[in-house]
Symmetry: C2
Subunit: 248 residues, 2 copies
């Protein structure tokens, strides 16, 4: 592995949320290490740590040992610039969707210049909840059998890792890349959403319209899909700051 | 899935040889079905059938139920036109190698015109033996971490199935394909190798040179790598038939 290709791998974190079978965490770690990924975040894992996880990691113990255990998904996303939610299910809600090939092409661009990407995998039984998906900027789907789509979570990590490795190896994009604008970080976005909610509450906006939760979800979805640059975020924050005083 | 893309899937068989963990057979079936593959061959599986295999198949029970159980690898390869051995290890012996992307590109070409492909996965512990590899025409490697390559066998099937699905979906090749020459089948090749050995024995060739086993392996390797067309095979068979009478 050449030194200069490592950016992509080092700037990716794999986040497993509410995993119920600890064996899948071990298998996920093994899948990651096979494809040069090492940053594993575990949100609220069940029955972990346990011997089954270590057994199925099969030599990827270092990935397990270095895994960061978090209580909430938000904690696992601190400092991340682009958040991808992996989902087998097609959602009824409209969301920006990419398949794993498209997502991995974007990852090459983003990580090459040092920005952080998180790929979030939900629980075995039901995948990501809508609340977890609210924190994601794009929904990544893995193509497959339209009549049976039941990817094991570690298998999904394996496919993602493989596709990312292959695209990284091709390195086709490297020479034609323009340096992307600096994207807003997760924490900045969350802070912005909080600010936005406060301002809208202050404006009595929610009462007049539909429920607060639904409306905030729509707004999040819009801004997440747009993938705010830092400078754009600063502009919106400035607008929010200007609104409040006028209403007081 | 459009009807016309099914050729590729229907003409591929996945062969698992000497699998020791029945759970991996179930996980392999699940990986296959997710990627539209359904023809599973099990050569000498250990502790199978068992509940663990069914549990890990997770809805791909039909793939398991239809799996063909064979005593030898040769049995599992009857009627196949192109045989791919999957191997993580780099072999010291020289063998025609392709990575999974290259192999899947070839598979699109071969299967589109109705020829059969087998992809053979060895045991968990040691992969394919040299004797098993003797029956294969190409060694397929899966790119990954050069410092840790320890793909679970079901994960390897998952990656292969995914790559094959993606290339099939792209369908890039369909319009530019020339109909390939008809390749010799597995049974024809084996029959040819037997004939070749008999003729060489008859010629007292082995005694004069090195060991029979080693020499036959080298010959197999050459013909396997070359991927004999049916017509070429007929020519060689004709030559062999012509040799024997002259020596008698």
């Amino acid at each position: 592995m050449k030194k200069e290709t490592n950016y992509t791998f080092d700037n990716i974190r794999v986040v497993m949320v509410n995993t119920t079978e600890a064996g899948n965490i071990g298998a996920g770690a093994r899948a990651m290490k096979n494809m040069c990924l090492s940053h594993l975040y575990l949100v609220n894992p069940k029955n972990y740590p346990c011997a089954m996880a270590t057994a199925r990691a099969s030599g990827a113990d270092d990935v397990l040992a270095n895994a960061v255990i978090c209580k909430t998904l938000s904690q696992a996303l601190q400092g991340v610039n682009w958040i991808i939610g992996a989902s087998a299910r097609q959602r009824t809600i409209k969301w920006m969707q990419m398949d794993v090939v498209e997502a991995c092409v974007e990852i090459q661009k983003i990580t090459t210049f040092g920005q952080q990407v998180a790929v979030v995998f939900g629980s075995e039984k039901s995948g990501l909840t809508n609340e977890e998906l609210d924190l994601c900027q794009v929904l990544m789907t893995i193509p497959g059998n339209p009549d049976y789509f039941s990817l094991n979570v570690a298998s999904a990590i394996q496919v993602f890792g493989y596709q990312n490795f292959i695209l990284n190896r091709q390195g086709l994009l490297k020479n034609t890349l323009n340096k992307p604008f600096k994207k807003a970080g997760f924490d900045e976005l969350e802070s912005f959403y909080t600010h936005l909610r406060q301002v809208l509450e202050h404006l009595d906006y929610f009462e007049e319209k539909r429920s607060k939760a639904l409306l905030m979800r729509r707004l999040r979805r819009f801004f997440n899909r747009a993938v705010l640059e830092k400078e754009e975020l600063a502009i919106f924050r400035g607008i929010l700051r200007n609104i409040k005083p006028f209403q007081k």
